[in-house]
Amino acid sequence: MTPRSSLVVNSALAAVALLSLYSLLDLYQATKFYNQQQPDPYRIGYQAPRFAEAMKMLPPDAVVGYVSNLDFGEIRGSSAFFGAQFALAPRIVVPNDHPASGPLVLGNFSADVETSDISSRLAREQGLRVVRDFDAGVVLFRKEGAK
């Protein structure tokens, strides 16, 4: 087989190097743009400070019920749930209607609803009593009848 001329080989290698660098530059610019538009898209960095006070009232081995105005089937709802679970671990967070749910129930509400209104409604509908409203959409409930 005839060897390729140096010019062909060197041109090909230069093309590969330039295309690879172009790819990385393109990725860098796209990533930078995305990060500027959506820093921490699931708001995980915000959850630990939001739940810090509530955590003090929850024993580390607690299985905590969870209620929210956000639907778990949608991305906002599921990211709010997992964000709360990540912040509260090693406490286990389960939907309030889960049989393993303990006497304490965590309310995690979005900023676009009035927390006092939704807390009252949930308390009425699901038999919950407000233990404490921590602001920023975090409310701790206790199940009625639970000690």
Partner: protein, 485 residues
């Protein structure tokens, strides 16, 4: 403190690899050292993560105990490595081909690494907690492993809805161990540092292995092609287990390649290291268990064909011996900790067969694999285009001693793809959601090993032979010479 804890794990792994890889020809010396360190990162993470899990199970995972055990291990390994330093004797290996533009390729690869670092730092600043599965699965379970008393077992609680409590614990165990040593629970530094360590290990291991077997030019080109897999680079800061798994798959393939290149009868230590790295893959992710089984089967089969049954059994035993500690941990995890049947999720054989008989699912999976492959790179800089250019320019040049490793790698990766397809076809999850959320990660698992194999098959860039050597003697001069004789 996080950096020190990460460095301690890497040092343990480096020494373990150095001991087991005794006899590795060290030319170029700095590339051999780079390879040991890169493989050592993967090995060190697996060793220290496993130790932490054992200490947890024994109720002795306090900071002082973990530090003491790891320091003792480091000292012991250092002593063994010091005693065996003479065994790193130089062996006669052909020098890699020289290429006058290597420095320019190295410069391009260096610029690429600078861009990767800039991309990762920007992502880390914006999303230090990683992508979805990092906080919903991997790092969440690491937080559980730090729970007081026996509550660390909740890392595999069936109450952790949709967080896959059945997933193995290499990554969460290592992150939890690093948090404990650093005394900084749940800060992003440990998982982020781990992700960057593995990303760096993938690049360094690929470059070093290619430099040893194909020369520096192939090493830098291999890096440049690896970088053109934009999705792989994007995933480094996600903090998932797929990049670590890709490092274990690459590392196993490298050891197999080196063992066949340098010896007709690979040393037991090399085989045990290959088995340990494949076993680490099984302790990292469920797909890693498939890799362990398939890689061992392919290795044993190829050895059996070329060396006979007895040699195949000998090598297979060492491979198994290396992987055994990690397989034992995995078995103990599934037997005593993980929710029973979580992986199967109550599926009946009838339901699985019905899904496997659905032609629509085959079409959907095939379409997604093609789309996923097209989306692996970015437009004109797609890796397939780069590899096409290199195939035309450099052609293929498969050395005889590389053929078994090439067969091994190609067969293992192809069977892994078949396994992935099988999982998609049989899974009870909604297919488009499953494909959309996981296919790029599966490609990432195999990508560095695939690039390695491509460059083992491709010709290496080299300078043309000196013109004098090929010049035909002038007719008159030849006649004169003959008449003189």
């Amino acid at each position: 403190m996080t950096a020190l804890a990460l460095a301690l794990a890497a040092a343990i792994g480096w020494l373990a690899v150095r001991i087991l890889l005794a006899g590795l020809p060290r030319r170029p010396r700095w590339m051999a050292a780079t390879l040991e360190i890169a493989l050592g990162i993967g090995a060190g993470v697996a060793i220290t993560s496993s130790l932490f899990f054992v200490l947890l199970a024994a109720g002795a995972a306090q900071r002082g105990v973990v530090l003491g055990v790891e320091a003792a291990l480091l000292s012991g390994l250092a002593a063994i490595a010091w005693r065996r330093r003479a065994s790193h004797a130089e062996e006669a290996v052909p020098p890699p081909p020289s290429f006058r533009w290597n420095w320019l390729l190295a410069l391009a690869a260096g610029a690429g690494i600078a861009l990767i670092v800039a991309t990762q730092v920007d992502t880390a600043r914006a999303s230090p907690h990683g992508n979805w599965d990092a906080f919903a699965t991997w790092n969440l379970r690491a937080k559980f492993l730090l729970a007081p008393d026996g509550q660390w077992r909740n890392a595999a609680s069936e109450l952790l809805t949709r967080t896959h409590p059945e997933y193995p614990l290499l990554l969460p165990g290592f992150v939890a161990r690093t948090w404990r040593l650093a005394g900084e629970a749940a800060t992003p530094a440990a998982p982020l540092g781990t992700a960057w360590l593995f990303g760096g290990a993938a690049i360094a291991a690929l470059a070093a292995a290619l430099a040893l077997v194909r020369g520096a030019g192939a090493a830098w080109l291999g890096c440049l092609v690896l970088f053109s897999g934009a999705s792989y680079i994007d995933q480094i800061s996600w903090q998932y287990a797929d990049i670590p798994l890709s490092v274990y798959i690459l590392a196993t393939t490298i050891i197999v390649l080196l063992s066949w290149r340098y010896s007709d009868r690979p040393r037991a230590g090399w085989l045990a290291l290959a088995g340990a790295l494949a076993g680490s893959a099984a302790w990292a992710k469920n797909e890693g268990l498939a890799f362990f089984v398939l890689s061992l089967a392919c290795y044993a089969l190829i050895t059996w064909r070329s060396e006979g049954a007895a040699e195949s059994i000998r090598r297979g035993r060492w491979w198994l011996a290396g992987g055994l500690p990690f397989l034992a941990l995995l078995a103990a995890f599934h037997l005593f900790l993980a929710p029973s049947g979580a992986a199967l999720r109550g599926q009946t054989s009838g339901a699985v067969l019905a899904r496997l008989a659905d032609p629509g699912r085959y079409a959907a999976v095939a379409g997604a694999f093609v789309t996923g492959a097209l989306e692996w790179g970015r437009g004109v800089s797609h890796p397939a285009i780069l590899l096409g250019i290199l195939a035309v320019a450099l052609r293929f040049d498969i050395a005889r001693r590389h053929r078994p490793a090439l067969w091994f790698g190609a067969a293992t990766l192809a069977l892994m793809m078949v396994a992935y397809v099988g999982i998609y076809l049989a899974s009870p999850d909604e297919l488009s959601w499953l494909l959309g959320g996981s296919l790029q990660r599966l490609y990432a698992q195999l990508w560095p090993a695939a690039v390695l194999l491509a460059f083992v098959a491709l010709g290496a860039p080299s300078d043309p032979p000196p013109a004098v050597a090929h010049a035909k003697p002038h007719k008159a001069a030849a006649k004169k010479a003959r008449s003189k004789r």
